[in-house]
């Protein structure tokens, strides 16, 4: 930072540069955040009147089985995403370090590509992948003789939650991968050279050197993953809308449904706040358990 440089600026110029951004930002981000809490204390259903009912919405929320069911679904998505994404990303990162690997640029570009697609497109692509009659998933299963696994993936209440998790894992695999890779680049080459002299090979190198040295990065990435997966919305909205029934309902979808389908704006706000609290709480619990220093 430039303490005590000789630059001077007029007060009015300073204000002109800052105020427009601060105004827009406050109007769109800060005020709604505060209002959302206020609405959650009312019984508003969109009409002209709303009564202040204190924490009644929250009391109801504690006993709302659908809310907790949605939270449970978020947890399933979270768990599978973290396990598969982190391990795949770590394996890929280790493989990318190998000298035998060709076309590194190509692989990285291709694996990262789904990240830049819109959630809606990804949702539709996978809806077609899962299509009972024309989808690739069932076609592939059929061609390798696993006919008994052919099923309507998005219509079976027992498997739907796993079926909606796969697109999330697929789309965002690139993010942990590139973060791990940039962390690996920060590791001194000498460490690897020394260990190669001691006869340390591929897998050992990954487990005993790369893993411990990027351990802190992995924890940070898991925290990112927790907060984004707790708020997942668009994919689910497009793929199933929370159905069949409520078997793939997640918190954000539930908040959307209570607010815009049944117009319970007060209660919907309470669901939203509840979602924030749970997601923030999970991040904090993880931070505490894993002793993240950042």
């Amino acid at each position: 930072m430039n303490h005590g440089n000789s630059l001077r600026i007029k007060k009015s110029t300073l204000l002109w540069l800052l105020v427009p951004s601060i105004a827009i930002y406050t109007f769109v981000m800060i005020i709604p955040l505060i209002l959302s809490f206020y609405y959650s204390l009312t019984d508003w259903t969109g009409g002209p009147t709303k009564a202040f009912i204190g924490f009644d919405n929250y009391r109801f929320l504690m006993k709302d089985s659908l809310f907790w069911e949605s939270f449970h679904n978020n947890l399933i998505i979270l768990l599978f995403t973290i396990v598969f994404q982190m391990s795949l990303a770590f394996i890929l990162t280790s493989l990318f370090m190998s000298k035998a690997m060709r076309l590194k640029e190509f692989h990285r570009t291709v694996i990262f590509f789904p990240v830049v697609l819109s959630a809606v497109v990804v949702g539709f692509i996978w809806q077609m992948m899962y299509s009972q009659d024309y989808g690739i998933v069932n076609t592939v299963l059929k061609s390798v003789g696993l006919d008994s696994y052919i099923m309507p993936w998005l219509d079976d209440p027992k498997v739907v939650i796993y079926a909606v998790t796969l697109p999330l894992i697929w789309q965002f695999l690139g993010i942990p991968m590139i973060i791990f890779m940039s962390a690996v680049q920060g590791i001194s080459k000498d460490i690897y050279e020394t260990c190669e002299l001691d006869g340390c090979t591929g897998i050992k190198k990954a487990i005993y050197i790369t893993f411990p040295l990027i351990y802190d990065t992995i924890k940070v990435v898991i925290m990112l993953s927790i907060s984004s997966n707790m708020l997942v919305f668009s994919h689910i909205y497009v793929l199933t809308g929370g159905g069949p029934g409520t078997s793939s309902m997640v918190l954000a979808q539930y908040a959307y449904k209570t607010s815009f389908t049944s117009m319970q704006l007060g209660y919907g706000s309470a669901v939203t706040i509840g979602m924030f609290i749970l997601s923030f709480g999970l991040v904090l619990v993880f931070k505490w358990l894993a002793e993240v220093k950042k």
Partner: protein, 278 residues
């Protein structure tokens, strides 16, 4: 000699597995792309085979008959305005924050950076109500305000840290020579910031082009809807017409794909910086 051959064979197997993995990662997209060139009947007959002859009828159907062009225009306008405003606003804020010390400077910095932690989805309900109250709902400019606001944090962070690395002596020399603040900003610092500004432009473009929940909730007129919401409408109308749906999807991916394959280095670098900080 055998050892070398063994190693070569191992490398070959390894690279083949890697290639299969990468290709299966983009296979869903490739499948959509080539299937969109098939006729509906061809697709129903065999959903995995390559098209026998190319025909672009599905694209015509999606773009013209299905009125995808409306959503295209709306998305393009929204994205263009948002990108311009975000670059302009974030550059102003970042310049001030990195060059001057004043009371509240740290507070303002934290205020903006905290935006990366605010879960935007949760703002939808209150924002919807707020826009209704202020009469901002369902207008041609409705989406621009939230789009700018939710994109400001990362560019400010990226630009602020970049400008800090630009020697302040440049600004000081200009100041001594009597240059105004706006002159120094636009004629001296801005040109140096070109690489990071291109990253900001690309990331803002991608985010805005792909944005879904705000567009879903804040506008209802069909010519105001953006592509992702348009796609969901379109899906409702053409549910059984897979090949047309696929053409519509390819159309909406195309701009993103182009930008990605030209600028993927900027994108990856910008996203890593943003993710690690957030």
């Amino acid at each position: 000699m055998p050892v070398r051959m063994f190693r070569r064979a191992g490398g070959f197997v390894f690279n083949t597995i890697m290639a299969v993995f990468s290709l299966s990662c983009i296979f869903p997209i490739v499948w959509i792309a080539y299937s969109s060139l098939k006729t509906k009947d061809d697709f129903m007959l065999n959903s995995i085979s390559l098209p026998t002859h190319l025909q672009f009828n599905n694209y015509y159907k999606a773009f013209v008959e299905g009125e995808m062009y409306k959503y295209f225009i709306s998305s393009t306008l929204n994205t263009l305005v948002t990108v311009v405003c975000v670059v302009f606003l974030s550059f102003c804020v970042a310049y001030v924050l990195s060059r001057f010390r004043f009371r509240g400077r740290n507070l303002i910095y934290t205020f903006f950076i905290a935006g990366m932690l605010i879960p935007v989805y949760g703002l939808i309900v209150p924002l919807f109500l707020q826009f209704k109250i202020f009469g901002l709902y369902d207008k041609f400019y409705t989406l621009i305000l939230p789009y700018i606001a939710i994109r400001l944090s990362l560019p400010i962070f990226l630009l602020e840290s970049f400008i800090k690395t630009v020697p302040v002596e440049l600004d000081e020399a200009a100041y001594m020579d009597g240059a105004s603040t706006s002159y120094t900003m636009t004629k001296i610092v801005l040109p140096i910031c070109k690489p990071i500004i291109s990253t900001v432009i690309i990331l803002t473009f991608l985010d805005t082009w792909n944005e879904f929940p705000f567009s879903l909730v804040l506008v209802t007129k069909s010519f105001l809807k953006t592509l992702p919401v348009g796609l969901t409408n379109f899906y409702g109308q053409y549910t059984s017409d897979y090949t047309t749906l696929m053409a519509a999807m390819v159309l909406s991916i195309l701009p993103v794909m182009l930008v990605y394959f030209i600028f993927n280095k900027n994108i990856i670098q910008g996203m890593t910086a943003g993710a690690v900080k957030g």
